[in-house]
Amino acid sequence: MSIPGATDSIDAPTFEQILEMDDEEDEREFSKSLVYDFFTQAETTFVNMDKNLEEKDLKTLSELGHFLKGSSATLGLTKVKDSCEKIQHYGQKKDETGSNDITEEEGLKLLRTTIEQAKTEFYEVEKVLKKFYHDE
C-alpha cells in the first residue's frame, strides 16, 4: 500500500505497518484515528512552539521537538520527523546534526525557520493523508 504523492514525506514500510493494524481495510478505523490524533497533537505542539519561541525557552522547544518527533516517526512522517529532530537539536544549542555547539541567538534564528518549515511540511502531509482517508 503506497500513498500517492507522498513518496518522500512518508516512509512507506512504517506507514504500512500502521495500516496493517487496521482490522478492516476499507474502514481503516484504527490508523485513521491515529493519524487524526496526530493532526491534533501537531497543531497543539506548533501553538506551544510558537509560544515558547516568543519566550525564547529553548529547553522547552527542544522537548516539544522531541515529543513530536516521536509520534511523527511512529507514523513514518519522515520530513516532519527530520525537522522535529532539528528543533530538538537547536533547542539544545547544537547544530542540526547535534554534534557541534551553536549560540543561543543562532539557535533561536534556526528554530524560527525550522518550526515554520515543519509546519509547512506538516500541512503538506496532512493534505495527502486527508486525501488518503477520503476526507477531502
Binding site: 516512509d11 514500510p13 512504517t14 505497518q17 500502521i18 493494524m21 484504527f30 484515528s33 491515529l34 490524533d37 496526530f38 497533537q41 522537548e63 522531541h66 515529543f67 518527533k69 516521536g70 509520534s71 516517526a73 511512529t74 507514523l75 513514518g76 520527523k81 529532530e85 547535534g98
Partner: protein, 707 residues
Amino acid sequence: MTNSSGCPTHPTHPTHSTYVVGQPNPQSPPTPPRQSYTASHDHLPSPSPPPPQPDDDASLAIIFRYTSIPTIVLDSDLVIRQVSDSYVDQVSSESRREHVLGLHAFDFFDQHEAKINSLAARTAIQIAIDTRRHHYLDHIDGQFTWSIRIVPIFRHDTLQFLQMEFRDVTPERAKQLDLEERLDANETFRMLVQTVKDYAIFMLDPQGNVATWNAGAQCFKGYIRDEIVGQHFSRFYSEEDRANKKPEKEIFDALRDGRVEDEGWRYRKDGSKFWANVVITPVYRSGALLGFSKVTRDLSERRKAEAGLISAYEEASKLKSDFLANMSHEIRTPMHGMLSALTLLLDTHLDAEQLDLATVIHQSGQLLLQVINDILDYSKLASGCFSASQDVIHFGDVIQSVFKVHQKCCPEKITMDSNIDPRLPEAAMGDSLRFRQIMQNLISNAIKFTENGHVQMNATLEGEDEHHYHVLTQVIDSGIGVPPLVVDTLFTPFTQLDNTATKRHQGTGLGLSICKSLAEIMGGSIGFHPNPDGHGSVFWFTAKLGKVQQSHHIDVANTRLDALTLSPTTQPFEEIRLAAVNKRILLSEDNPINQKVMLKILAGLGFHSVDLAINGEQAVSMSIKDPPPYHVILMDINMPIVDGVTATKMIRGAGIRIPIVAMTANALKGHAEEYIAEGMSEYVPKPVDRNLLVKVLLRCLGQDQPG
C-alpha cells in the same frame, strides 16, 4: 562534763598512762582534770586554774555539744568529757551519749560502736600529742569512711584536751578510689602500648598528624618521638602513594567503614622500605572524632619467605612442565613420520598376516599419538602458558557436530540422545575449540565405558548475569559407573578407572584432568555424580561464557534491514504468540500516539496484559515490586519527570533484573551501547519495527523469568 564538784566522775584507769607532756614521770598519779574551758585565764601560769565562770563554761560546752561536726573531747587523761549530739546521731551506733561520757577513750574505742580503730586511734593520739599538731586518721566502717581529726590542745606545755572531729568522707573516698583505679588502668595500657616493640602503635589527630609514638614505631620507622609527633602520617608512604592521595583515601575509608586495612610498602626515616600491614581505626569519644589509631606490622620477613617459597615452587614446576612439553614435542615428530609411512605401507600389497600386523602397529601408533597430545596439553595447562581464546561459540553447531561425530562411530548397542535447553543463547564468547574438547572427551569416555545402553547429553543455561552466561553441560551414561573409592581421584592426572591387569580401556588417564583445567580456564568447574537411574555416571561441566551483546546490538540496524527486506515468515509470529501467553508487559511511553501504536502492536502479538506508564517515575513505582510484576519493560528514553535511563537505573538499583528494552528515536550510532551500559537489556529504534520487536521480545522472554 564535770559534775558539780568539778571532780572527775570516771574511775581511775590503771592500765592507761596519762599523757601529760613535760611531766618527768608519766607514772605519777593522775592529775585532776583541769577546768581548761576558761579562756580568760590563759595568761595566768597557774597550774590549777580558778573555777570556771559558769556562763563561759556553759556557752563553750554548748559549742561542743551542739556542733554539727561529730566531735568527742577528751581530757588529758583521755577520759571522754564531751560528746556532740551529731556524733551520737551520725557516727556511733551507741545512741545514748550518757553511756559514752566519762569512759576512758581507749575503753570506748575498743567498742565497736565507737567507729574507730582502737589501735590506730591510740597511735594517732600519740602522734598528735608528740607533735603537738593535729593529726588525721581514716577509719573505714563498712561502706562509710570517716576522716578523724585529732586536735591536741596544750596550755603551758601541758596537754589540756584532745578534740576529735569525725568527718564523713565516703563520697570523696569513693571518687578517690575510682580515680586511682582509672589512673592505674590507664597507666597499664600506656606502658603496654609504649613498650610493645613488635607493632608500631600510635595515634593520629583528626587531621592525620602523628600524636603519639611507641617503641615499636620507633623501631620500624626509625624516627624518635620528638621528630615525628606533629608530622603528617603520609610521610611513611611512597611518593607514588602520596601522589595518588592514598593516605587521604585511607583516612576517608576509615571514617566511612570504621576501619581500613592495607598491605604495602612503607618508608623508614633513612629512606629504606618495609612491607607493612596497616590498620587505621577512627577513635571517637562521646561522638566526637578524637583521631585515628594506627597499628603497623612489619611483614617484610614473611613476605620474603613467601616469595622465596613461591619462586622455588614455580621454578620446579616450570622445569617439569618444560621437560614434558619438550619431550612430547620430540616424540611427536618422529611419531608422525612413522604413522605417515605406515599409512603408505598399508596401501601397498600386503598379505593377510602382514596387513594384520601393520594394522596393529597403526592402531597402537594412533593411540600413542593421542597419549602424547594429552601430555602436551597437560603440560601446557600445568605450566600456565595456556589461555582460553575468545571467539564466538555457537552452541548449536558445537553440540551437533560433537554429537554427530560420536553417533557415527559409536557401537550399535549404544543409543545416543541430546537435549539442548531452548533458553541457551545462539552464541556466546569463549574458546569454542576447548569447549568442544571437553565435550568430546566426556562423550568418548561415556561411550568407552558403556558397552550397551545409552548416552545422553544435556546442555542447559544455568544462569546468567550482566556479562556472562553460565552454561551447564551434562553427559549421562548407563555404563559401568565409577566405584565410590576412586571418585575423589577422577580428575587427578595419570589416574585411570579400571586400572586393572586386564586393562580393557585404554588411555593416559589424563583426559579428565585436562578437562578439569580447561573448564577452570573457562571460569567453570567439572564434576561427577552417579547416574540417579542406578547404572552409570553423570559427568558435568560448567563454563562462564561472555555475552555477545556488543555484536548483536551493533547489528540492530542490520537486523532491522533483514526484517524489512525478508518477507516475514509466519514462524516468529507463532512463536511470539506462544511466548506471549500469560506474559505481562509494562509499556513506558509518554506520547499518546506512540502508546496507541505500541499497544496495538503488542495486542496483535498476543500480549493481552500490557500496563502503561506515562513517565519514568510511574514506570519505576509500577515495576519495583516483589515478585517483579512484569516479564519485560519497554522503556522510552525521553520522558517527563524521570527519563528512561534514570528509571532503568532506579529499577536495577532495586535489584530487579527483568529485561528492559530501550525504545527511542535517538537512533544515533553508539546510542545502543550507551543504553545497554546503563543497564538496559535490549534496544529498539523508533519507529518501532514489528519484526524487530518480535525478535527482541523473543530473546527477552526466552531468557528471563520473573522472580
